[in-house]
């Protein structure tokens, strides 16, 4: 087995034995149960008769459900970002502090292998978490309301991409900063990107180029929010998007829970370039690092 896979395996095993992961799993299960309960109450309410007719017709219920699902998934994406940062910020820094890195790196293993192993282990965990948790949520929503989002797989792919962007940035910071510092900086970057996303939409809505440019730049530098837009788009029924755009309510574009379109292919390519560049920077930084 190659050294990278050995390190990746050890990283997954480490996570499986940490209370953080157990706690996260519990919170996720509770969150899914609560949203399931909420959706169930919603359908019950919608079908209650108001002057002889249901309060919401089928189309209205679908719109409300899809909106609420987006809000729930937005909360999930925050939990995901936080947990990714908490797992990745100590990935290198913690091993340097404990002396594990000193012992491991005197074995015939290259530093980039150590780094890639750590990244890969965390990436597998993150992707697994996204797939399991969102499948469960979609399943619960489907069972309770009969609603299925239009592109569940696209959603998982975009959300995983967003998490991997955060993971890669945090890994880079971890090669030079202590766990706490790296974690705080990475979360700051994530929040800035989120605000940049709002700036893009706001700039478009207000026809303000300055605001839009700052927002676009933020999205290029830290592409987590750009991918989140793709995730939102995957959850929106086509008819609803058409409705909003047709109504001419351009301000709606400033809503962080609405995306009028998915990210263009060029942007996705850029994200790929970004990831390779940031990982290479991490590798370079770690190779130069004295232990």
């Amino acid at each position: 087995m190659s050294a990278t896979l050995t390190i990746a395996g050890a990283t997954v095993r480490e996570a499986s034995r940490k209370k953080l992961v157990v706690a996260l799993a519990l919170i996720t299960v509770v969150g899914i149960a609560l949203t399931g309960f909420g959706f169930w109450r919603l359908t019950v309410l919608a079908h209650q008769l108001d002057r002889g007719a249901p309060r919401l017709d089928v189309a209205e219920l679908k719109t409300v459900t899809s909106q609420l699902l987006i809000v729930a998934m937005f909360a999930f994406s925050f939990v995901l970002a936080l947990s990714t940062v908490f797992m990745a910020a100590p990935s290198i820094a913690g091993e340097l502090e404990s002396g594990v890195a000193a012992a491991v790196l005197t074995r015939p293993i290259r530093r980039v292998q150590f780094l890639a192993g750590k990244w890969l282990g965390l990436a597998v965990l993150t992707a697994g978490y996204v797939v399991v948790a969102s499948s469960l949520e979609f399943l619960v929503v489907d069972l309770v309301t009969g609603y299925r989002p239009p592109h569940p797989l696209g959603f998982m792919a975009f959300l995983t991409g967003e998490a991997l962007v955060t993971l890669t940035l945090t890994t880079l910071l971890s090669t030079r900063m202590s766990s706490v510092t790296g974690g705080v900086v990475a979360l700051g970057g994530f929040m800035l990107a989120w605000m940049g996303g709002i700036a893009v939409a706001l700039g478009a809505a207000l026809n303000n180029h300055g605001v839009a440019t700052v927002g676009t730049l933020t999205r290029m530098i830290m592409p987590s929010d750009g991918l989140w837009r793709g995730a939102v788009y995957s959850l929106e029924p086509a008819a609803w998007i058409a409705g909003i755009l047709g109504s001419g309510r351009t301000q709606a574009a400033a809503n962080p829970f609405f995306a009028p379109s998915g990210p263009p292919v060029a942007y996705l390519l850029w994200v790929g370039v970004w990831a390779v560049a940031v990982f290479s920077a991490a590798s370079w930084s770690f190779r130069r690092r004295e232990i």
Binding site: R17, A103, V104, T106, P108, E290
Partner: protein, 303 residues
Amino acid sequence: MPDASDAAIVTTGLTKTYGSVTAVAGLSMAVPRGEVFGFLGPNGAGKTTAVKLLLGLARPTSGSATVLGARAGDASARRRIGYLPELFRYQVWLTAYEVLVLHCRLARIPTSRTRAEVERALVTVGLAERAHDRVGTFSKGMQQRLGLGVALLGNPEVVFLDEPTSALDPVGRKDVRDIIRNLRDRGMTVFLNSHLLGEVEQVCDRVAVVHHGSVIASGQLDALLSDSGVRVRVDGLGAATGKLQRFGELHRDGDWISVDGVALETVPDLVAEIVALGGRVYAVEPRHQSLEDRFMELLGGES
């Protein structure tokens, strides 16, 4: 200095500075294969930094080093070395057994040999009974034993031990001394960082004393320690003591006078002289210089 061609470790002008601090200052030395080499020095002398340079964990500011014929830090050398770091806390979520298995994989020990290799290491360092306990539950000394076990996996040709007994009780220290002697008997080279002089004196074939990053004395232990000296317990000499100076350097310590640099055959002359001067002699002891005395003498001469 031994011949560099059959040396396990050779350094040439090895230097490492951190900002304005010179941790290692132009270290040039050779450690012969199959010997236990004691690298001695007070706190902050540069011992740990020197080992990190030899392992490629830190980069030299100037100078160079080879380990087993390869540039320090090269993978080909790293395949054949073991390392016990000075300060460490291995993965607390793993058991001792799992830590050792992980290192076997990283050291590319064939899977078929892993089990035997791990079990042997556990027995050697006395952790067999705690093999399946989490490292997080280990005492400091047990963690150090585990670290030693990790360093010995796969029969390395050179092991670097950075203060291997700092957390150990007297029994543990003796165990480690026995382990080190056993390694030497198996032909391993041991690079031992320490400031425990008694320990070094008992196991090392050769020592180098470092201070402020440079070697201030080195060589085989017996050559480094002068054993020509004598201690005399005497009274009634008074001011006449000074007349003994022609035998050697005098140190007074209560009733005891030590005379350094006296050859064995002149000891009877020294005693006769004391008696002639009116001194009453109660005891005469040959004096072997301890490493501690020599160490203090060297450091004293430096600063």
